[in-house]
């Protein structure tokens, strides 16, 4: 038995792998420290802080969706409650002059998330799959509507605000300027990412994956899938609470939007677009979606529509998300057959781009005539000026859409052929897909 156990344990990683692993984390630390030196404007610091918060939130969500296979439509509940408790904690600390510095406050948010996940989780994790998704949605609506009823605690529509500079100060950090908030968020992000990565390596993390893949067999091995789902749910609530508290500190306000369906939807979008199959996926997704929502909202009034369409496109054509798409190429790179697919990508890229441009042109034109029909028809979107009333624009949009669609369909067929060829060659060289 003991012999079996030693054989079953994985071999210790080689020194080079270890070095690579720790070197990567070290590089991240250095990058986090250097980043504000490179982009020191207030706007970019705020953006970085928002990205950090949404990384923690998306990773906490992926504990459910990616690792345990639970699709939740109400993850913002734990984020929001963490945020509210953090705001109240700041106010209480400031009023009573308690010796609790601001960097500890996110922990309060995390514990709040944990507490509520522990309370609500037992009922909701009893079933998985579609039923769990619906239950999470129902509970989210319950909490969000209750927040509007319990006005003393949640502050009604206006929310509750606090002043983060009034808290007990350690080393004379006031946390007034955004740069200090950036470092606070960065430190917590690093801590939370490390903790969540470590969680995936524990036996519990492995059992979560097992529950996701085959709950019946987990039962046969002697574990209760319900308990494992519950534990994963609690961890996920904890980290979501930390993210919510950081958001509350960043904005110095918590309102009912924190708990709402939009927030739950955004984290789902970010996680899924990034890719649920890899640990790094939600991080990529959080960065992508935060930048996209900040960038697109300047360029076009209907950025949320684009957002939804991107999501639908990812679900339909790239279920592995961005990281899934990139990781698909790993065996090809290893075998050196990547060059066989690249030309077909280039060929497919042109008509696809044409189709997307045509769609955007059509959307922007239609939006102009429905949202502000009386205005001048010379509109500017995505930095380009054009006349929405001109028939040439309409014709061009139609040609781009239909021509692009027709050619894109054919060229993507070519890509599939080239892909099979390259992957087959990689297999022949002994690289596992």
């Amino acid at each position: 038995m003991s012999e079996l156990a030693t054989h079953a344990a994985p071999p210790l990683p080689a020194a080079a792998d270890k070095l690579k692993f720790y070197g990567m984390w070290l590089a991240v630390v250095v990058a986090l420290l250097v980043l504000p030196k490179l982009f020191s404007s207030g706007g970019s610091l705020t953006t970085f802080s928002l990205i950090g918060i949404s990384i923690i939130f998306a990773l906490s969500y992926n504990i459910l969706l990616g690792q345990t296979g639970m699709l939740s439509f109400g993850h913002a509940v734990y984020y929001g409650l963490g945020g509210f408790l953090a705001i109240h904690a700041i106010n209480i600390v400031a009023r009573n002059k308690l010796a609790i510095p601001l960097p500890v406050i996110p922990l309060i948010g995390g514990l709040t998330g944990l507490l509520f996940a522990a309370l609500l989780g037992w009922v909701s994790t009893r079933r998985s799959g579609t039923a769990f998704a619906m239950i999470s949605l129902g509970l989210a609506e319950l909490v969000a509507s209750s927040a509007l009823i319990l006005r003393t605690f949640f502050g009604g529509e206006a929310g509750v605000s606090a002043n983060r500079t009034k808290v007990f100060r350690l080393f004379d950090w006031s946390f007034g300027p955004q740069i200090q908030i950036y470092y606070l968020v960065a430190a917590w992000t690093l801590l939370a990412v490390l903790a969540m990565y470590a969680l995936t390596r524990t036996p519990l993390g492995r059992m979560c994956n097992a529950v996701r893949d085959n709950p019946e067999r987990v039962q046969f091995v002697g574990y209760d899938p319900h308990v494992i789902r519950y534990l994963a749910f609690c961890f996920s609530g904890f980290f979501a609470g930390i993210a919510g508290a950081l958001a509350a500190i960043n904005f110095e306000i918590a309102n009912s939007a924190y708990l709402g369906a939009v927030q739950s939807g955004t984290v789902l979008f970010a996680t899924y677009i990034g890719g649920v199959g890899f640990f790094i996926g939600p991080i990529v997704g959080a960065i992508f979606v935060t930048l996209l929502s900040l960038g697109l909202s300047d360029l076009t009034p209907v950025w949320q529509l684009y957002f939804g369409l991107i999501f639908i496109a990812v679900v339909m054509f790239a279920p592995g998300g961005i990281t899934g798409l990139l990781m698909m190429h790993r065996p090809l790179i290893r075998a050196g057959t990547l060059s066989r697919v690249l030309p077909s990508y280039a060929v497919a890229f042109v008509p696809t781009l044409a189709m997307v441009t045509g769609l955007m042109l059509a959307i922007e034109t239609v939006v102009h005539f429905t949202v502000n029909p009386g205005d001048d028809s010379h509109i500017k979107s995505f930095g380009i000026r054009f006349d929405a009333a001109s028939p040439y624009i309409w014709a061009m949009a139609m040609i781009l859409i239909f021509g692009g669609f027709f050619l894109a369909r054919r060229s993507w067929g070519r890509v599939a052929l080239a892909w099979d060829d390259a992957l087959g060659a990689a297999r022949d060289k002994g690289v596992a897909a």
């Binding site: 509970l139 209750s146 003393t152 939804g308 679900v315």
Partner: protein
């Protein structure tokens, strides 16, 4: 009090029947395709807005027919070109696809019709009080809504129980693979069921639009309640969906018309509670918590009957 009970019962049954118009489609789609159509309430909204637009152009009565047909055609297209493609990637991807669709539909409706409510009026033919009970005028349009939902309910029952296609659908509810093995074109049945289901939701939208508010957030408001109905009734159970629809319709309507609160009932016993932060819970009226009633019911059901009222499937 009697007046209140009669009116609330009527309104409750009406709301319940409307819910069932949507829940029935949702349930049949779920049972056959195994996917809970998150965008179902969006088709209800599309029905209401199509109905509004068409009734402006050609009148309410043609709209009552055309709008559901249009929405059903869109639904069938979504199944054929969207869901069927996503099906390969599993149920989570399917659910997410409909989720993204719901999001996109809401955005599109906002772009076309704006965020504020549109002026969708009751047709003049039905704009009169049907009868008067205890000095309350009951609008004829509400009776018409009730009539339409009952007619559809009965015809659905007949189609399901008496016709060949109904038999196939019933068989596919429990044994979808076997139906496929028997040589039926399951793909076409799926498309048909999806189209009919979304068209039913659109009918509910057209008749509810003038009575309730036609606004771009109506899907977001009704959607969660609809899912509560399906879970409370038991996923995949039509009779369960019917019972849950009526139950939630009645519970919510009665709650809205009641004004009691804990403070009202026990207030004289301990007036000092009113000062603490508990005062919110203490003085909230039943009418105020009406919106959360369905969700409270959901939690209770989950604790005591995790399968739902009449559910048998564990998904």
């Amino acid at each position: 009090v009697l007046e209140l009970i009669v009116i609330s019962t009527l309104n409750g049954v009406l709301f319940g029947m409307l819910l069932f118009l949507m829940a029935s489609g949702l349930t049949v789609i779920f049972s056959m395709l195994g996917v809970l159509n998150f965008a179902h309430a969006s088709f209800y909204m599309l029905g209401a807005f199509f109905g509004f637009q068409i009734s402006r152009w050609v009148g309410f009565w043609p709209a009552l027919v055309i709008a559901p047909l249009l929405a059903g055609a869109i639904g069938a297209g979504v199944e054929r070109y969207g869901l069927r493609r996503v099906h390969r990637n599993g149920h989570v991807a399917e659910l997410l696809f409909t989720f993204g669709l719901a999001f996109a539909i809401e955005e599109i409706v906002q772009i076309i019709w704006g965020k504020s409510p549109v002026d969708f009026r009751v047709p003049p033919l039905l704009d009169f009080p049907a009868f008067t009970i205890f000095s309350t005028n009951y609008p004829a349009f509400k009776m018409f809504m009730l009539l339409v939902s009952i007619v559809i309910f009965v015809s659905l029952l007949i189609v399901l129980k008496k016709t060949r296609i109904g038999l196939i659908v019933q068989a596919a509810l429990t044994h979808p693979h076997m139906v496929g093995h028997l040589g039926h074109n399951v793909g076409r049945i799926f498309m048909l069921v999806f189209g009919v289901g979304t068209a039913l939701a659109a009918v509910a939208g057209v008749i509810a639009g003038p009575a309730l508010v036609t606004q771009s957030n109506m899907a977001g408001l009704l959607g969660p309640i609809l899912f509560v109905v399906v879970v409370v009734g038991g996923l995949g159970s039509l009779p369960g969906a019917f019972a849950a629809s009526l139950l939630i319709g009645l519970v919510q309507t009665f709650a809205v018309s009641m004004n009691g609160s804990l403070a009202g009932a026990f207030g004289p016993l301990s007036p000092d509670y009113a000062q603490t932060w508990l005062s919110d819970i203490w003085s909230v009226t039943i009418a105020q918590i009406a919106p959360i009633m369905p969700y409270l019911l959901l939690v209770l059901i989950l604790i005591f009957r995790p399968m739902g009222l009449l559910g048998t499937r564990d998904t």
